[in-house]
Amino acid sequence: MQQSNTYIIVFSAVLTIVLGGLLSLANQGLKPMQQKSVELDTKKKILSAVTDLQEKKGDEIIDLYGQTIESVVVNIDGEILEKDKDGNPLIAENIDIAKNYKMAPEERLYPVFKYHQAGNKEAVEAYIFPIYGKGLWGPIWGFIALETDLNTVKGVSFDHKSETPGLGARITTAEVSNRYVGKKVYNDGKLASVVMLKGENNAASNLDEHHIDGLSGATLTAKGVNEMLENYFIYYKEYMNKAKTNATEKVALLN
């Protein structure tokens, strides 16, 4: 049966309206849930650099985040920024690190997440810094959490786009990230960073507080991680210095 053009046009129009309506309805209806999902995802990642979240459910995480995280955005000089160039308020959680990475380091925005005791903003327990860099095949990124001395590593979490499975991709495993815990960033006030060594099963004598065991066969990914960490320690240097002074001041005040 060959329908007339009018029929086809009418049919198409009706179909478009029905399907389009259906889609926008779904979009509107699901929007709040979706936003919450995105938010949860970001917050989960930040928190996982300092605590174990395995047991917690979505709402609990958001609650926990609200209670324990205070976020600020700083620039390369460690100054806290409230508004962006266009005058919109800056929210640390919404900053796209990957986009910032494309700009010159001086122009980037650097979010900082302060982890404190639930409800008590003063009792800071850790600082969480997002990091970003290049692996062997593509970008790698993650968060590093430092203790209040801004020297001892409290925890790290890494992620990557396309490192070699079984080699470089191992940076996401707990086995590797645990190696960082307790290591020191500064050596006598000088930046020493935490460096992943070449090859696995290095002699214990080589693993001092600035060095961790490497990844067999993934020397180049390890090199990317090392560079990423060192870069961001430099970028956050000013902020860290200020935070340290504040902390000592506070301690002095309390005394």
Partner: protein, 214 residues
Amino acid sequence: MVEKKPAEPVLSKRRKKFVSDPLNDDNPITVQVLGICSALAVTTQMKPTLTMAISVIMVVVFANLIISLIRSLIPSRVRIIVQLALVATLVTLVSEVLKAYQYDMYKELSVFVGLIITNCIVMGRLEAFAMANKPWDSILDGLGNGLGYSWIILAVAFFREVLGSGKVFGWPVFEAIGIQNFPTNGLMVTPVGAFFILGIIIWVQRTKTGYVEH
């Protein structure tokens, strides 16, 4: 008085075949070799694979149902575009729902859910079956093909996750039975591994059924 023909049972033998045939003899992946792209891409772990499988079942069942319902209304000249529009709408819906309730899966599957649109299984069933059959039959046909697709990708995912990550649905099986440090097979994590697993499944299946390429 005209005697009424007794209604066909809801699950008559004929209808059961709609569901059972695509599971093995006429499997969309291993026999018709459709939907290979997603079979390779999403099957590193079982969880996203299951999500993908359910998504495809939903899309193909509902698309079959709707197309079958309005089949007499669809102008034949534009039927492909109508089918495409419907499938695209359903896929977008699935994608939106995933984004809202299963964000992890949404991120992981990302583009592959969208690619259900181009999955030949869906369009193929619409054109070959739903356009010419009643709604209930079409639902069964969609279900059969969806399941046929699902069990294959789940099987592939099972082997890839067990061998590649030592886990099933994220649960470390080897540690559970006392094998620590199971040497995971990196090949299984890459799409190449999926090729091999799929190849072996097809090989075994064809040896059993005696299927010969025409």
